[in-house]
């Protein structure tokens, strides 16, 4: 099976989408599929539920999580990661039902469920005898 989702480069922003300057990070994701839905999990540590924006438009799923800086002007002994916004966009070629997309954020992990349209779900055809 070919990949149903392709990553877009951060530069290929949707037109008119405003993004603040500063560090933006690409969240790590897991994407799974079964016969009923596509499920995407994205690591968005430090992002509050009200600061996540999930959009689905013209077959594109765009995730944006705003994360305010947590330390200002501190004397670091070790800095191994940066804190900032998360952004990632995917083109979805599977036929999903936009009205039924659901997302939740728990413990810094965003889960997006994209149910497939009824017409693409596999149907079991009953074979009748005589």
């Amino acid at each position: 099976m070919t990949n149903e989702l392709t990553t877009k480069q951060p530069g290929q922003d949707l037109e008119g989408t405003h993004r603040e300057p500063g560090a933006t990070f690409t969240p790590r994701v897991d994407i799974l599929e079964n016969e009923n839905e596509l499920v995407l999990y994205a690591d968005l540590p430090g992002v509050m539920p009200e600061s996540v924006d999930v959009r689905f438009e013209n077959g594109e799923l765009v995730l944006h999580g705003h994360c305010a800086p947590r330390q200002n002007g501190v004397r670091y002994l070790r800095t191994e990661y940066g804190v900032g916004d998360f952004y990632r966009a995917f083109t979805i070629t599977a036929d999903v039902d936009p009205d039924k997309i659901a997302a939740e954020l728990k413990n810094g992990v965003l889960a997006v469920h994209l149910p497939k349209s009824e017409k693409v779900k596999p149907k079991k055809i009953e074979v009748r005898g005589q």
Partner: protein
């Protein structure tokens, strides 16, 4: 791997090497996925200090407080360990797998001794915040200057 009619003779050999490398990264990283970046120390830490405390912060998305253990040994060895549960993926096909899962343990040496009994930690929105109060001997002391 895409099969090509022009595959060189040693392609099979290369593939075996490739698998071996993936397997090694898998073991080193310890939490699946075979992504080279996972071979780095996990979790990444930010550490800073002020006069009285050392602060450590780590991103542990998807984890809960009971899945993380923190130790301070020998006065200044800070250990963070735990196990990140795998995604529930029964009867599902993977398209992308970038988030790791599994056991991890990391120890860093702090610049001063800390008071192990007073270490506080909280996990919020997948970010672990640890406050490690400096041992009394390591705190700056204000010396009164006596006049005549």
């Amino acid at each position: 791997m895409v099969q090509s009619r022009w595959q060189p003779l040693f392609a099979g050999e290369f593939q075996r090497f490739h698998n071996e490398v993936n397997r090694l990264f898998h073991q080193l990283g310890g939490h699946g996925g075979g992504w080279p970046t996972l071979a780095r120390a996990y979790p990444a830490l930010n550490v800073w200090e002020d006069e009285n405390n050392i602060y450590a912060e780590a991103e542990l998305p998807g984890m809960t407080q009971d899945q993380v253990e923190i130790y301070v040994t020998e006065g200044n060895l800070f250990t963070l360990q735990g196990e990140r549960p795998p995604v529930e993926a029964a009867s599902m096909a993977w398209h992308r797998r970038e988030r790791g899962a599994g056991k991890f343990s990391r120890t860093v040496t702090l610049p001063t001794n800390v008071d192990a009994d007073k270490v506080e930690a909280r996990l919020e929105q997948g970010v672990l915040h640890v406050t490690l109060p400096k041992a009394a001997a390591a705190r700056p002391r204000k010396i009164a200057v006596k006049g005549e």
